[in-house]
């Protein structure tokens, strides 16, 4: 198949095959937990590292193709690795490595599906994601795309005895399938009646504005359904909590990114045109999604739901950047398009790292405490320091705080916004600052959400007695968490190298790349050093130095005496842990400020109640405005259709008689 040195594409294909082999091995010994967890999963992690390396080397070289002897007769599976695929492969490999190692320690006996089967689904899942990134014709893409959805469905429902988990899985698969059909139709448009479904042929097709618009709409719908763009996000907060934590980590960190990849592939590679208002639509959708996600995650009281909504938010930010890029490209401002695109890819990468880190942390908490409700956690920083301190890194990163990675991409995004005045469209110039403001608001709210997340889970006093026997995570899990946390820090401190990688992607997609105006690895200056520059490493160093200096100075001139005492109880000695601020309480300001977002039902206590009770339930308007009406309509249509089958044979005969007569008249 290949001669000479092993090419990146061949290497990643080998990785896929290795994963499938591991999956089969898992099926061979479905009950053997030790084998699966201590041999198969770590091996899978190593393979993932190899894949990351392949992606790394694939970034540098130019596109490389391969044709498998499978698929349809006229359409064997085409594989192709260009910089875009390589970048996402790198993302996939590096994150999966951490998650797999964690999973090695995470698998337990007697939880839902047999470990062997879980191993099967898991590795088929990541293998299919890899192939999605490599696919170079519509059929292969769809096959791997749906395989990905299917395997992840089985992972989500791995504890299928719970009804709510089943329904979550069903909702997930349904949305995924509808989205997939939309993508399929999108490819149907792109092939332009040539009947040739290879991406290579699609690139050549010239589209009219009408068909281009249709393709864009279908792509946005299809990939948006997978990525969780509002209003198609409903499956996300259901499916992520239902899945085992490593799986939620992978789904949120990598699977959503495959949707981003597909969108980029269609919009910047296959579709031969760009229209400015597409950019506006994508931008608007992204903004709505981001705000929606963050506001909802602020009021969640289940830690995994909270993270799921925060994924919605981050995907929203990614699509905001995409919208900007489309706008710029539509006006042939390629340098700025490159900037926006860089911000987008960078944020995708960052989100992959910190979101998987946090999901894994929640997994450890879940195992240690058997609790997902924020209202029953607290004070775990004493019981599980490893998880707590590593989660702190993720928390700060996802809150977009310098000098960690989350901030870099937000910085780039805001920079991109600051350049929009260049656009030759007054309306856009007016609209964009508002959008920038919304992005800023989202970022700030993310900080709020993350303080809530971290503070309620790890800080304060334990809200339940049983939390006392919570234990820290095992060695495998630690390795995984450390790996991801290190990723967060490095991505944050050394952005110049990362942008160096992304440049090759933007170069392939736009023919222009960002480069780094300020030479040297220390400073990041996207356009020009005078324009804006950011040196996270220096930033970190200075803070650390000042902190140390301050510490030493205090110790030097004064003393380090400490006395432990009880907390100040404000003259009320009977305070208990239950009197701490709950997650709901912490969400209350957001409920107050963003009231119209929610469909809230409050039960206020009556002053004369013996046991006063305050209950508030927050729901999503979209269920009532969009999904229930749809279901209702479908039901109505069904009951109409049902009239066709009322059991009367004479009526049946009448149908065929009338059909006959109608056709006869039609022939006349």
């Amino acid at each position: 198949m290949i001669d000479g040195p092993i090419t990146p594409l061949a290497a990643s294909l080998a990785a896929v095959i290795a994963w499938l082999a591991i999956a089969l091995a898992g099926v061979m010994f479905p009950k053997n937990l030790r084998l699966v967890s201590h041999v198969l999963f770590p091996t899978g992690a190593l393979v993932a590292l190899a894949l990351a390396a392949a992606g790394w080397s694939g970034l540098a070289q130019n596109a490389e193709t391969l044709i498998l002897p499978l698929g349809l007769p006229d359409l064997p599976f085409h594989l192709r690795m260009d910089a875009l695929s390589a970048f996402f492969l790198l993302l996939l490999g590096s994150v999966t490595a951490g998650v797999s190692v964690f999973a090695a320690g995470y698998l337990r006996r007697g939880e839902g599906t047999l470990p062997g089967l879980q191993c099967l689904y898991y590795h088929v899942f990541i293998a299919s994601m890899t192939l999605v990134l490599l696919a170079d014709d519509a059929y292969a893409f769809m096959v791997f795309w749906e395989t990905m959805a299917l395997s992840s469905y089985f992972l989500v429902t791995s504890d299928h005895r719970k009804a709510e988990i089943r329904s979550a899985g069903f909702l997930y698969l349904l949305v995924a399938h509808v989205g997939a059909v939309a993508i399929l139709l999108c490819f149907g448009v792109l092939q332009g009646g040539t009947g040739d479904y290879t991406f290579g042929a699609m690139r050549e097709v010239q589209h009219t504005a009408f068909w281009g618009g249709i393709a864009f709409g279908l792509a946005l719908f299809g990939f948006g359904a997978k990525a969780g763009i509002v209003p198609l996000h409903v499956w996300l907060p259901e499916a992520h909590p239902a899945a085992p934590s490593p799986v939620s980590a992978l789904m949120s960190a990598v699977m959503l990114k495959t949707a981003v990849y597909g969108f980029l592939r269609v919009m910047f590679d296959l579709l031969d045109m760009q229209v400015w208002w597409w950019g506006v639509i994508v931008l608007a959708a992204g903004l709505v999604t981001a705000l929606y996600g963050v506001v909802f995650s602020a009021v969640q009281s289940d830690m995994k739901r909270l993270l799921a909504y925060s994924s919605v938010e981050n995907i929203g930010l990614v699509f905001v950047a995409a919208g900007l890029a489309i706008m710029f490209r539509a006006y042939d401002m390629h340098a700025l398009a490159a900037l926006a695109l860089t911000a987008m890819l960078y944020h995708a990468l960052n989100h992959a790292f910190f979101k998987s880190l946090l999901f894994l942390a929640t997994g450890s908490v879940l195992h240690a405490t058997r609790e997902r409700a924020l209202g029953k956690l607290g004070g775990l920083i004493h019981r599980m320091p490893w998880v707590a301190w590593l989660a702190l890194v993720g928390t700060l990163a996802i809150a977009g705080l310098p000098p960690l990675n989350g901030f870099v991409s937000e910085w780039l995004l805001l920079q991109a916004f600051l350049f929009t005045p260049g656009l030759p469209q007054n309306y856009l110039n007016m609209l964009v600052p508002v959008a920038a403001a919304a992005v800023a608001l989202t970022a700030a709210l993310a900080g709020y959400v993350m303080v809530k997340f971290y503070g309620v889970i790890f800080l304060g006093q334990p809200r339940e007695e049983k939390l006392a026997e919570a234990h820290d995570c095992g060695p495998w899990e630690r390795v995984g968490l450390v790996w991801l946390a290190a990723g967060c820090v490095l991505l944050g401190v050394l952005p110049v190298y990362v942008i160096g990688m992304i440049d090759s992607v933007t170069h392939t997609l736009l023919g222009r790349s960002l480069g780094n105006a300020a030479q040297g690895w220390l400073y990041l200056a996207p356009i020009h050093a005078d324009r804006a520059s950011y040196g996270p490493f220096l930033f970190l160093v200075v803070i650390v130095v000042v902190v140390l200096l301050a510490f030493l100075a205090v110790r030097l001139f004064y003393h380090g005496r400490i006395r432990r005492g009880p907390a100040w109880d404000c003259g009320f000695p009977h305070q208990t842990a239950r009197m701490q601020d709950t997650a709901e309480g912490f969400g209350q300001p957001v409920r107050q400020v963003f009231e119209p977002f929610f469909r809230m039902r409050r039960e206020l206590p009556d002053p004369f109640d013996a046991v006063p009770r305050y209950r508030v339930s927050v729901e999503d308007h979209l269920w009532y405005w969009l999904y229930l009406p749809v279901a209702w309509t479908a039901d109505k249509v069904t009951s109409l259709v049902t009239l066709l089958q009322r059991g009367r044979i004479s009526v049946y005969l009448m149908y065929s008689f009338c059909t006959l007569l109608l056709l006869l008249l039609f022939v006349r």
Partner: protein
Amino acid sequence: MLPLSSQVINLLAAILLLLAFAMLTQRRILSLINLFALQGLTLALSTAVVAWSTGQSHLYWSALVTFALKVVVLPWILHRLIRRLNVKWDVETLLNIPTTMLIGIVLVILAFNLALPISQLAGTITKSTLGIAMASMLLAFLMMITRSKAVPQVIGFLAMENALFFAATSATYGMPMVVELGIALDVLVGMIILGVFFFQIRERFDSLDIRHLEKLKEE
């Protein structure tokens, strides 16, 4: 001035149509069967006439088969069924007779209109009768729809078969022999199976009213 044979055939065709209407309006089941037998007879006659006038020998055979099957065997089977199941009741229709008649007229007009261009093409001496064949088929169909008892429905089915036969002989001088035999066989077997059915339905629902057969449906 048409040749005698085709005059005769047209006459028989007219009779066929008349019989179709009669069956459509007939209330009593026994006379329905007799009408059916009569229709079969007409059919056999017309086939024979065609055979005679065109010298198509195989048509004699098909005339013979028709006679045997539709004048002798099937009426006999039906009569026995009636006696064995002692269903002497009058036929009640789902649609009242005048309405049925009106619809029937409309159908006839439609059928004639449809058949007109085709009959122009036909080179046979019987070309004008295709419309009649189609009309009587549609009438039989209508009869099946309007009858609420099993036996009349089946008779309607057989009447439709007759109409088709007539179409075959009139439009083209009969189908190829092997096909005709196949068709005849199917009709016979179908009839026997139906006979078996009647008994089973009777023993399950102790009635042959097909309005009992309305359990399977969507709520």
